[in-house]
Symmetry: C2
Subunit: 335 residues, 2 copies
Amino acid sequence: MFVPPDLKTAALAIAVSLSAALPTTGASGQSDPLPSWNDTAPKAAIVEFVEKASKKGSPDFVPEPERIAVFDNDGTLWIEHPMYVQLAFALDRVKAEAPNHPEWATTQPFQAALEGDMKALAAAGEKGLMELIMATHAGMTVTQFQEVVTDWIATERDPRFKKPYTELVYQPMLELLAYLRANGFKTFIVSGGGIEFMRPWSEKVYGIPPEQVVGSSIKTTFEMKDGAPTLFRLPQVNFIDDKTGKPVGIQQHIGRKPIAAFGNSDGDLEMLQWTTLADGARFGLIVHHTDAEREYAYDRKSQFGHLDKALDAAAINKWTVVDMKNDWKTIFPEH
Amino acid sequence: MFVPPDLKTAALAIAVSLSAALPTTGASGQSDPLPSWNDTAPKAAIVEFVEKASKKGSPDFVPEPERIAVFDNDGTLWIEHPMYVQLAFALDRVKAEAPNHPEWATTQPFQAALEGDMKALAAAGEKGLMELIMATHAGMTVTQFQEVVTDWIATERDPRFKKPYTELVYQPMLELLAYLRANGFKTFIVSGGGIEFMRPWSEKVYGIPPEQVVGSSIKTTFEMKDGAPTLFRLPQVNFIDDKTGKPVGIQQHIGRKPIAAFGNSDGDLEMLQWTTLADGARFGLIVHHTDAEREYAYDRKSQFGHLDKALDAAAINKWTVVDMKNDWKTIFPEH
């Protein structure tokens, strides 16, 4: 989340082409748990790992309570271009709150946010972005923030696909989440995004309950207000769940090492290392965005979802790399 | 955990009397899920709450994912006198590490810890206690600390009962945990004690997995050391999960409001307020230590498990108060 927006990546592609996902039946006659995955190497690697970890008698069998799988969110479970969804939320919130803050019209980075001046916004850098986050994510109760997020996510549309963001989640990853859970895995989100920005919709969209969401956070404070217990959100960073913060967040929230990790950017490198560089059944996977036609194509030069070191590390550590264009039959759910 | 030890409460009672727990069968012929609870008001209140929250068609029915129950640990699930178990651990660790720290022999609060001088230790106050915690809980990897705790908890014995601490858990509370889970509740520990001190044994002893343990923590840092991913424990406080920190810790880890909270001291007051002062089926319970013969009797004047404001609040808010002596048939598990 805490990356300055980039004009280049903000350019919207026009062509939209969603191929239909048809449930398929395998040679064995059993229905395919991953119908939106083509029969290429990543699908085979996933199935092989899940079977060796969950089949009793397998030399790499992992007891059910230890079958922990962690998923990055932006770019791994849902769309992150032309900008992180949470950044679009912050910019919208600045516009919504502007009438209460006349000074924003002439104060950066708020002026840039109000005028949609992405160049000035980029110039404000990480510091400017943090100012936007604090102004729009703090100064209210936890309950109030949940309501603001719930309203926004229900009504806003992605500028290119004209759909709610919660429909711009990756169908193959939804199937993967369900497949893992059907085999005794407990699935967690471990995202650089805000923990309270994801919780209001993660259960409905991903089947991941709030207590299995790990993310960045600001500080909160408890007080009794007129006899009512209140948790109030303060404009202070509590924890940044990105890069080296991801293993720290995993230990803090989950308390044991996952056996499978799924990411798409350098922000996930340390989570993948922490998860996979250990004994026993281990699985690491990187979603490589290679499909400009159906979604986006970006990696080493992108500011949102920057994938460089982690792509090199994937080759060295034998992590599975999903080539979105070739390995995914469908990108988004068909409703 | 962060309370100076008190000489008075360190006095050991001698009489030990464990009455046997016999499983009983109710008039309905169904086996009693809470056999170690006497048929007094607290048991009836628990059963009434669980039934109204979990029985479909009940006007106060709560959907299963929202059936979150939070439990304090020290004094609520296990013994906390003559001192917090984790303090006994810290004092033992000072002794074990003393050969590597000759300076401790003449430096407070380490000298006091080594000489068992509880008066000097109390004089060192909270600051001194934090120094002991940092010296014994940090400066190693997360994995190393887990091993140290696992070894210690397996071998050490409580001075009065001559049993491992993990056998000095409250049998009625073990039954309560199982009863709640059997009715679709998810049970969490929310303790002022160290999160990584509880996790190595919480699943085995309470059936609560590491990812459902919330507690105080020190900071950790991730690094790659000779190609191996490592989480290292730093001598810096990260979070104190006590008093107003408990609702904050609950929101941070669980992300939704519990519907039932169980505590025994003023450290649990805000957790009980946050949980119960809301609409719908809600339940708050305080374990009142009233049994000097079978365990300990303490409340308003005790430093470990100080119960004063929360006892007054219980009357006002209609929280259930367990009178340990009268309401519990058995205190500890019989093996």
